[in-house]
């Protein structure tokens, strides 16, 4: 039987099928942006979301309280009128009067009112909601340990509100930036059941886009909201968020031109994109996340057992010179060069380099110096007395487990380098990769000797969440220092940033000396954008900030901007 003819027909049919409408979509995409997200959103309620992706997407749906910009030259957050058209600091910053616009409306025509704003804070401060954004009310008024809504927020008239705080602080305005929820939608639900409210999944919009459709793990579709009065309907017809978790697939979609924007681009892919894909521009964000190794400064086991009464230095990491030795012994620069290149920088402390005014420029990163590490360890009494290649002191070997989360290639690599580096100075490290939920549980209960983790810093400096108290979950080292507590108190109550900077600089010097953490490196995210997308305002505030003003244009028109 001659199969040649039918085989040829089959091949032609397959080719016709393949080429038919490949890359074609449902039409109407000419004025629609397609953005790839690295994960699905949790929901669309700003008080219930924890992930960065979810917060970014909310720029589409909610009116922003202020029009924020971050002045990179000065390292300061600049507030301009948004939903709040005027504001006034009173009582040395302990009260703020806000005047809201009266022309901002929800999709259903109702005005975004002071009641909506107050209701949002009511939910934030309600323990039965267990909001992950509860810190927005932490500096407001509490009575008998409970958030006092009426003492914290007064509604003076149909557009004026007065917020009260426990202390004056130059950046209290930051805690008024969470977008308001429509009270009308949520008012009848028990706060503890709010997570099950359908509006979390199908929100009422008051922003430049309105919700159209969400297919989990697949796509979110928003259309321009014609009823948006502030900041106005989106210029684009719509935006589609495609959920593509695999970074290489996301990158290939960007290269192919089937998505317009994605982040983060991996540093190792930058050269190829620059050389071969001229239609893609890359934007680098200022560093807002750092990685660190938290050394247990105190004996956490004893501390837990005694209910927080017994504070004893940790058998290995309890001494400053030992922690300094560990930092000297780790070749952070080699990890940085291998994994981040110019998209990272060695960390000196935990205040982001983008806050230029607060940075103590006298401090330098610890250099890689195994000799210095050995010398400090010797001074602390750690020597290899039995010749087995491992340091010991009073019969205790210098040996510990380093915990880190699985699924993060950079951390897995760093952990291996750390293990090898410390072996060179006679320290045995057991690497323990853990699932995120297990690691977080261990970090919350402080059940470890050392942990390699990362931290995203806020747009306002608040060291109290890391160094204030041993019990603070973010004080992963259990570090305590009276002067540090004093400086935090002084800095948080300083009337202006110049004054606060004085305290923050001293705080950094102490942390640099004490090394409760080994601060590894700051990471700068890279965003890949197809040049057809115009007027993006990618900044440290958010990749999707200003998404209502995005436009689609000729991709060739901005080649010269390179």
């Amino acid at each position: 039987m001659n199969l040649r003819v039918p085989m040829t027909l089959v091949v032609f049919a397959l080719l016709a099928f393949a080429f038919h409408s490949c890359g074609k979509s449902g039409g109407g995409l000419e004025n629609t942006a397609i953005v790839a997200l690295s994960a699905d959103v949790e929901n669309f309620n700003p008080i219930l979301t924890t992930s960065t992706v979810s917060s970014e997407v909310q720029y589409c749906l909610y009116p922003q309280m202020f029009d924020l910009t971050f002045d990179l030259a000065r390292g300061r957050l600049i507030y301009k009128p948004g939903l709040v058209k005027r504001w006034e600091m009173l009582d040395s910053g302990r009260a703020i009067k806000l005047v809201l616009r009266r022309d901002v409306r929800w999709e259903n025509g109702l005005i975004v009112s002071p009641q909506d704003v107050k209701f949002t804070y009511e939910l934030l401060g309600d323990p039965s909601v267990a909001s992950p954004q509860k810190h927005y009310v932490d500096d407001m008024i509490f009575t008998n340990g409970k958030f006092d809504l009426d003492k914290s927020i007064e509604i003076l008239d149909d557009s004026t509100m007065l917020f009260h705080f426990r202390r004056g602080h130059p950046n209290q305005l930051f805690y008024l930036t969470i977008p308001p929820l429509p009270k009308y939608v949520f008012k009848d639900i028990e706060p503890r059941s709010i997570r099950q409210h359908p509006a979390n999944l199908k929100p009422l919009s008051g922003g430049p886009y309105r919700f159209e459709r969400w297919t989990r793990h697949q796509e979110i579709v928003f259309a321009s909201n014609p009823k948006c009065t502030y900041p106005g309907p989106a210029i684009l017809d719509g935006v589609i968020f495609r959920i593509i978790t695999e970074p290489q697939t996301r990158l290939m979609e960007l290269k192919k031109g089937t998505i317009d924007l994605m982040w983060p681009v991996q540093p190792e892919d930058v050269d190829d994109l620059k050389e071969s894909y001229r239609e893609i521009r890359l934007e680098t964000l200022p560093p807002r996340q750092y990685e660190y190794i938290a050394w247990a400064n105190i004996d956490f086991q004893e501390y837990r057992k005694s209910g927080g009464k017994t504070i004893r230095p940790h058998r290995l990491f309890g001494e400053t010179r030992v922690r300094q030795a560990l930092t000297y012994a780790i070749d952070r620069k080699s990890i940085l060069d291998a994994k981040l290149g110019k998209y990272g920088e060695l960390a000196v402390g935990d205040i982001s380099p983008m806050f230029r005014w607060a940075i103590n420029t006298n401090l330098r990163p610890y250099p890689y110096s195994p000799e210095q590490a050995r010398s400090l360890l010797r001074q602390a009494g750690w020597q290899d007395t039995d010749g087995d290649g491992v340091l010991d002191r009073n019969g205790v070997k210098f040996e510990f487990s380093l915990l880190y989360n699985v699924g993060n290639a950079r951390r897995a690599y760093a952990a291996t380098v750390i293990q090898e580096n410390l072996k060179q100075v006679g320290i045995v490290v057991h690497l323990v990769p853990l699932e995120a939920t297990v690691l977080y549980e261990k970090m919350n209960t402080k059940d470890y000797d050392a942990v390699l983790a990362g931290y995203n810093v806020s747009l306002s400096i608040d060291p109290a969440d890391r160094w204030g108290s041993i019990d603070n979950p973010f004080n992963s080292a259990g570090f305590q220092n009276d002067r540090v507590k004093e400086l935090i108190n002084l800095g948080m109550n300083a009337i202006d940033e110049e004054k606060a900077a004085y305290y923050w600089k001293e705080l950094q010097a102490i942390l640099h000396q004490e090394q409760p953490f080994t601060f590894m490196y700051w990471i700068k995210d890279i965003v890949g954008v197809n040049r057809r997308l115009k007027q993006t305002n990618i900044s440290t505030l958010g990749v999707l900030e200003g998404i209502g003003k995005w436009k689609i244009g000729d991709p060739r028109s901005s080649y010269s901007m390179d």
């Binding site: 449902g26 629609t32 924890t50 039965s128 509860k134 697939t249 979609e253 939920t437 979950p473």
Partner: protein
Amino acid sequence: MRYILRRIASAIPLLFGLVTVTFIIVHLAPGDPTALFIDRDADPSYAQNLKTALGLDQPLHIQYFRWLKQVATGDFGFSFTKNAPVSDLLAEAVPRTLLLSGSALAVNFLMGIAIGIFTALRRGTRFDRWVNTIALFMYSMPEFWLGLMLIFAFSLAIPIFPASGCKSPLAEYLPWYEYILDVLQHLVLPVVVLGVASAAATARYVRGSMLDVIQQDYIRTARAKGLGEISVIGKHALRNALIPVVTLFGLSFPFLLGGAVIVETVFAWPGMGKMTVDAIFTRDYPMIIATTLVSGTMVIAGNLLADILYALIDPRIRLGGEG
């Protein structure tokens, strides 16, 4: 029919045992489900309140009986992380996974059987050697790598297929036939990874089985009777050669829902495999237990189907021991 009903009845305690064991294991596994969605610096009372709201503050047996009661009424509970009823989430994801894995399974067995027969009939020829080499190559290739290479080759370098997703953006607005064509296009690359690679293994089974069968006396007799080659192979040899393949099919059946995790991730295919893995990592208990129940049901259904197919293919086998 009585046999089928008896098998279904015996599956109920099995599934009951499966979900009970899963329930206990997931609750005893380390990891706090609330740790992922409240701030770590929140007051511990916040975490406690959330646990109360989710019913996690109750003793394990109370949680278990409450869950059983819900399931008996068709309610799988509420996903902690997705903020939606589990049954809604399954209703979204299961059809998409069935489409992908079902297509892959079809390709696997249709291609595998066809290649197996051809290579058996042309045993020792250059065709046989080439096909065997290619089959081994495909089978030994990691799915993740093969997926990315296919995207690179057929989506980026030669852009004939979409790189990811199960449809183009806004494809819903296309005429129905174009929409179907669009989905089929999106199916091609993931199905190649899932189906073609497995077809290589199936082909080797079929080849071996076919070689055994065509050397038997009754095949020689059939040829001696003057039957045509198509009739000998298609009618007499194939039926017997397929018996081991039926076992393989039964074993592959559960894969329909859970076996495509890697391919779903690489191709951003919004199916159940990915959802299950996410649920495990986030300790989304209701979701984990529901997906286990669905997968368990598929395993039992697969075995039952294999047994029925045995009886259809081989008349010597009578279900229920009647024959």
